[in-house]
Amino acid sequence: MKGIDIKKWYHKYRNDLKCYLLLLVPICLFSVFFVYGFVRGFVFSLLNYDLRFVMLEGLQFVGFEHYAEVFRDKDFLNGLLHTTIWTVVMLIGNNGFGLLMAVCLMKLSRGRKFFLAGLYWPALVSAAITTQITLYVFNPTETGILNSFLSVFGIPPKDWLVNEDTALISLMVIPFFTGFSQKMIIFYAGLNGIPKTYYEAASLDTDSGVQIFGYITWPLLGPVVFLNVLLSLIEGMKVIAPMQLITPHNDFTMSAIYAMYIDAFENTNFSFAFAEGFVMFVIIMVLTVIQNLTQKETVVYE
């Protein structure tokens, strides 16, 4: 009797079992490195898991104490300010120049592929290489390009990456002017998706490129602009590489995620670092939601 039941059951669920068996390894890896990591991060943010003291004090539940502390932490707040500046500057620079490049590319009848290839490669340059290049450009002695350029006019060398007024700006200059590649490609694909007939129809009414851009290109490009702005926001809020590699432990360039990194891996205060991570997570979520709401208000003609 029982044997028949199992047979029936097996027959009924055989396909499902097979599918889950195929997914077994991915689901396990995913559960360990994503789900467990996330849940554990939250649980640990409520404990006192600080390797410097946990042996003496014993593992304790401290509630949301760390979260309150995060908003009083000088390094984190300082980092949040710099991260916000970085995000806004990169959002404007990379999307502005990216769109400009894409619009210029669309005007060309020849050489599109050449310019596309020639403008995209910096997207593949690693953070380590950018670090070395930036260190070289802003080198405090006359070895640096900037100082040796200024020395032509008799201006003495400055320590750009250390001074309060210039440190953050120095980090931002190169990514601001050259970091548009990824955005350019997305804008370019978006512009190519706008049907030519719209432009032909518009060209009967007006010769003004500005008008055509304002009434046709910009509204139809809405979803692509939305995507690019969202990508910029998420990338910008997570910035750590330039701060960590080019100007380590510099209060004038500290970013929020770098402050978290220091708390976790240098101070070994993992609970506090998790709290900082979750605060950043909530900030990014809120920004995403706000951006989604503004998107709904713009009309898309399609």
Partner: protein, 288 residues
């Protein structure tokens, strides 16, 4: 009538000229820092900066590259980077095509739930995982092992999403006829679905490979400071040549830029060999 026409074409030419000008200008912005570094990397040992901006090196010194290559132990960095990037890409592409195939082309109970389960990771921020995966790797004794570098990111959710979208375009009838011919899931996946999804898979592989090659933050944590398994990026960051005990000596800077150029070269070669996957790949990812 004729006049208007000429005026229009002159205006168009001016616009076209401005477009070319803007594109060239920004290309220069991108190239200049690298060009100056390249010039610097060729300077001779006797080179002393100051007074002028060097548009060309005083003399061409290939020897710098040899010194930097040996001093930074770049060869082992390249070997390990190839292992990490190659191994990671190979395994992750198998995993994500398997998941995408099961989610796109099979029907089973709880399918929607499994899909949402995976997609929930898009919400999980990488920086929290950076810390918790470090703790996990430490606890299971993998800290400092090359396996720790590649293990956490293998299930790439974005890749699953991308491939699943692509696989929806494969007609069900093709798979049904393969089933009638007696092909199993594995055979359908490797002989039919993967070859038919090649445009998406190739783009994914190439982007993943470069991403892994360029990674420094997680490998640095997983390998725990200076390690024989360091990838090329960390070798570059760790390379601090000193001349007469000083890191600020002009020739030390020359050697550092030479090491930077050595690190840059493989990426550029890779880029120009697979350039169309980068600049046209976006069409495969579903954005029109």
């Amino acid at each position: 009538m004729n006049k208007v026409k000429t005026k229009g074409s002159i205006g168009k030419r001016v616009v076209l000229g401005l477009c070319y000008g803007t594109l060239v200008l920004f290309m220069l912005f991108q190239i200049l820092p690298f060009y100056f570094s390249f010039v610097e990397s060729l300077q001779p040992e006797t080179y002393r900066p100051g007074g002028t901006l060097h548009l060309l090196p005083e003399s061409i010194n290939i020897k710098n590259y040899l010194t930097a290559w040996q001093g930074s132990d770049m060869i082992m960095g390249i070997v390990w980077s190839l292992i990490y990037a190659g191994g990671f890409t190979f395994v992750t592409v198998i995993i994500i095509s398997l998941v995408a195939y099961v989610l796109a082309k099979k029907k089973f109970r709880g399918q929607q739930f499994v899909f949402l389960f995976f997609m929930s990771a898009l919400m999980v921020p990488g920086e929290i995982l950076l810390v918790s995966n470090y703790l996990l790797i430490t606890e299971i004794g993998l800290l400092g092992s090359p396996l720790a570098v590649v293990l956490p990111g293998l299930v790439n959710i974005f890749g699953i999403f991308l491939l699943k979208q692509f696989m929806h375009t494969i007609p069900d009838s093709v798979i049904e006829s393969a089933v009638l011919d007696g092909a199993g899931d594995w055979k359908i996946l490797t002989r039919l679905v993967i070859p038919m999804s090649m445009p998406a898979i190739a783009t994914y592989c190439i982007i993943t490979f470069v991403g892994q090659w360029n990674e420094y933050l997680w490998p640095q944590l997983a390998l725990n400071s200076v390690s024989p398994f360091d990838p090329i990026q960390i070798k570059l960051l760790m390379y601090r040549p000193t001349i007469n005990g000083s890191e600020n000596h002009p020739y030390a800077s020359v050697l550092r830029t030479a090491a930077t150029m050595i690190t840059l070269l493989p990426v550029l070669v890779f880029y120009f060999s697979f350039q169309k996957y980068f600049t046209e790949g976006i069409n495969v990812t579903g954005l029109k």
